[in-house]
Symmetry: C2
Subunit: 388 residues, 2 copies
């Protein structure tokens, strides 16, 4: 395991700077400071017991005269696989469920209203292997599968909306497999699902071997704690995907992910945050953490020898606010729960200040995209002979 | 003037960290390291003479077997107004032109092929005042006005494409005023213009008092040094605007800007960089620098007393590459020229790795935007009674 050489977090390093320097850098890099919130001694105690790093913060907003505040606490959980990938699948599932029981107890004690796991949270991220056996066995029915049933009970007990990204098997439509986020409401009822819209073909992300592009549009789920949506992993690279959730009225968009390495890490802090700014909503980016090793070796299409691990999932989960400020990140190396508190009213407050929706000119772009998708599309190019 | 309390740059502060910490933070925050490039002793000497901070760097790319490299050097110039805003307009213009002569000489000696000024570069950023007199006098014809004529001669002399963002007056269409970027090719010929697509209504950016949304689409200018486009200032907040230049084939998109204050600074490093990533092209973000004071006081719609300055333009101009890496920023306080060298081939190289264009599903979004712009649009919302 190569985790040992990984440094813990950018934030922890920045704190080594002299206080004035730190504050200048923090303000430019992270925006308006978040405040401390109370997450209860019980939550802190439990997080230590379960070895889950607990980070919390609150975003400020204005009081309004005509609307009451709509304060929400979200919980973002990043975790390693608890036992080796080659463990019996029933043991793996049970170990994952035990981890879920633990963290949901911490989240409950920390006052979390909406909780989200990482992508394909209840299994190893095995798509690098391109092996169908045994990994496809993890796929289960979104509504009636064991994981949704398991979490429904906890959602109801803790009065918590839970987003559970899993590998889905659709037995009604040819037993097909999908990368799907299930939304369970705070009464434990299945509210619906969203299937990953954009599927990667980069590095070891061989997911297109297993499932195709999602066909569930861009649903926004109306819950007691706000209008929420889920942009799964690679969808964060697509500004149109984020925009679509905004158009449908999302106030919080979760981005459960699994991403590794030098290629994506410099993008990680940029994309979900840009989406929060551009669409005047909160974004919650969750990444796996740790290094997963597999039994059989595989190659990576990069000329290097066969190997058995996918690289280091660098964690660093964070929340970004519509005003461009962001929370500290969870660590790059450890299981962690990030609890963030904010007022959903901030979305409209910021939108009113910046006016991005008003100045968006959607009609102009609808026309352009219509043209751009035709086979005889002519890009608008100015050359010396085509004066504008 | 309040500049004195402004710190110089995030990069300079980060360099105070121990080397290993610095490198870890630099990699996560800035991506793959840029390299040093040779900009000639003459350029360095002149930049000192003219008190223009000179920063330079190069981005790496792969050698290809079937295409030759297409190495380009861009020059981004950020500057203060050289004399007070209330100076006679002819003096202001001449002082600006002298500054342009100086910096273009430095850029030429530094090997720059494509040069871009900041937004409305040849005048104070006076739109905060809402005064039509005298500021509208600065508006001039895009093709035949004094600034284009002045720069054409230098573009030809230095074999340099020059992007000149000015206040345009269109005498053919009712003497209307526009916020326009003029593109002059390296033979000194007027290649065309682009009008700012998205106009702000935020803080003291009272630009909608002076001009409306642009009507020139999203032109990409084919030059000897690549396909270039211009996303003017507030357009950087709109991912669709960036996308449209990408759809039309841009390889470099310049973002001449004028932005101040705590509201926008945390967004500055995010937006142009996200655009470079999402669209697999280079972006060049240029901001004004310094504090501009005006003769008459004005209020800012924020409950605070009348004042005479727009706040501090924080400079920090930078270049972002399609792989998510970025250059150091110019300072937050001084006139500066950033010279960046890169191979345009990197755009397609990165697009092939990440596959964002292939996985973009434009047809799905064309359909959504069509619907979203109708008056009876129904957002896709899932409630307890509308199971997905």
């Amino acid at each position: 395991m190569s985790d040992i050489k990984e440094f813990e977090s950018v934030e922890r390093i920045l704190k080594k700077l002299p206080p004035e320097d730190y504050e200048n850098v923090r303000r430019v890099l992270y925006g308006k400071a978040t405040r401390e919130i109370d997450v209860s001694e019980k939550a802190k105690h439990l997080s230590e017991k379960y070895a889950i790093e607990l980070v919390s913060c609150g975003f400020d907003s204005k009081e309004e005269e005509l609307r009451s505040p709509r304060i929400v606490r979200v919980g973002l959980f990043q975790h390693k696989i608890p036992i080796p990938t080659w463990s019996p699948m029933k043991e793996m599932r049970e170990a994952m469920y035990q981890m879920a029981r633990d963290v949901l107890e911490v989240a409950y004690r920390g006052g979390v209203n909406v909780f989200c796991f990482q992508e394909a949270w209840n299994m190893p991220f095995a798509f690098c292997t391109r092996e169908k056996h045994p990994w496809c066995e993890y796929a289960e029915d979104a509504q009636h599968g064991p994981t949704t049933r398991f979490l429904s009970e906890l959602a109801s007990r803790y009065n918590m909306v839970i987003i559970s990204p899993i590998l889905e098997r659709d037995s009604v439509h040819g037993n097909t497999i999908w990368n799907t986020a299930v939304v369970i409401d705070n009464h434990g009822d299945y509210l619906g699902k969203h299937r990953k819209n954009h599927i990667p073909r980069v590095g070891d992300f061989n997911e297109s071997t297993y499932y195709l592009e999602g066909n569930t549009g861009h649903p926004v789920f109306e819950t007691q704690f706000g209008k929420i949506a889920v942009n799964i992993c690679y969808g964060r690279h697509h500004p149109l995907n984020w925009l679509a959730f905004g158009i449908n009225g999302a106030e919080i968009v979760f981005n459960p992910s699994a991403t590794v390495g030098e290629l994506s890490e410099p993008l990680w802090g940029i994309e979900a945050r840009n989406a929060a700014i551009a669409n005047s909503y909160f974004t919650c980016a969750i990444n796996r953490v740790g290094t997963e090793e597999f039994k059989n070796e595989f190659t990576s299409g990069n000329g290097l020898p066969a190997h058995r691990d996918f690289g280091h999932f660098y964690g660093s989960s964070y929340v970004a606010a519509p005003d461009g400020s962001r929370s500290p990140g969870l660590s790059r190396t450890k299981n962690g729960l990030l609890i963030a508190e904010f007022d959903l009213n901030l979305c409209r407050q910021v939108a009113d200040v910046w006016g991005f929706q008003m100045t968006q000119r959607l009609d102009m772009y609808a026309e352009l995209l219509d043209k751009a998708t035709t086979h005889d599309f002519k890009p608008q190019v100015v050359t010396k002979t085509t004066e504008l």
